[in-house]
C-alpha cells in the first residue's frame, strides 16, 4: 500500500562500496595503494554483511534499508540523532580540553560551529515544512 517509502535495498550497500572506492583513490593519490585496497576491502565487507544478514537481523535490515517503512525510518532517525549527539558532545569536550591545555581548539571549534549552524538550519526548514 501507500506506506512503503521507495528506496532501493541496494542504495546503502552501493554507497558503502562507492565510499570504499573513494578511500582507494584518495590513498592511491597519496602513494598508499595498499592502504587504499585495505579500506576498499573493509567497505566491501561491510556492504556484503549488510546484504547477507539483513534477512536475519532486524538491525542489519534497518541499516541496509533505513526507509523501508515508517518504523525503520523512525529507528534510523533516532539512531542518527543519537550518533550526532554523541559526536557533538565529544567535539564540545574536545574544545574545552584544548582550551584548558592552552591550545588552539581548532578544528573542534569549527566542527562545533558547523553542528550548531546545521541544527539551526534544520529547525528553520523543519518548522516551515510542518
Amino acid at each position: 500500500m501507500l506506506m512503503r517509502l521507495n528506496r532501493s535495498k541496494w542504495l546503502v550497500p552501493g554507497f558503502a562500496v562507492a565510499l570504499g572506492v573513494v578511500f582507494l583513490v584518495a590513498q592511491w593519490v597519496n602513494d598508499q595503494p595498499g592502504n587504499g585496497l585495505v579500506s576498499l576491502a573493509i567497505m566491501v565487507a561491510f556492504a556484503a554483511a549488510l546484504v547477507a544478514f539483513s534477512g536475519r537481523s532486524a538491525t542489519f535490515e534497518v541499516m541496509r534499508n533505513p526507509k523501508a517503512d515508517e518504523r525503520s525510518a523512525m529507528l534510523d532517525l533516532r539512531a542518527t540523532a543519537f550518533a550526532g549527539l554523541v559526536v557533538i558532545t565529544v567535539v564540545v569536550v574536545a574544545v574545552f580540553y584544548e582550551l584548558a591545555r592552552g591550545h588552539d581548539p581548532s578544528p573542534y571549534s569549527q566542527l562545533g560551529a558547523v553542528a550548531g549552524v546545521a541544527y539551526l538550519l534544520a529547525l528553520i526548514v523543519g518548522q516551515r515544512r510542518s
Binding site: 500500500m1 501507500l2 506506506m3 512503503r4 517503512d69 515508517e70 518504523r71
Partner: protein
C-alpha cells in the same frame, strides 16, 4: 498504545507477514504494533482500521495504558 490488531489479524486468518505485505510495512513493524512497542502513524493506523473494516478508535485505544 493498546490495540486489537493481533486479534483482528488472527480472526482474519492472516500471518504477520501477510498483513505486513498488505500494509507495505515490515513484519517486524506489525509485531511491534501488536505488542504495543510502536505506535503507528495516523495514515498507517487508518489503513489498518480500514483493512479490517473497523473504526480507527475501535482498533486503537488511545486512553488505555499498555
Amino acid at each position: 498504545m493498546q490495540n486489537l490488531i493481533r486479534e483482528l489479524r488472527a480472526h482474519a486468518g492472516l500471518s504477520q507477514g501477510s498483513l505486513a505485505a498488505e500494509m507495505g510495512v515490515s513484519r517486524q513493524t506489525i509485531n511491534a504494533i501488536e505488542t504495543g512497542r510502536y505506535t503507528p502513524s495516523l495514515p498507517l493506523a487508518i489503513a489498518l482500521a480500514r483493512f479490517f473494516s473497523r473504526p480507527v478508535e475501535e482498533v486503537f485505544d488511545a486512553d488505555a495504558a499498555q
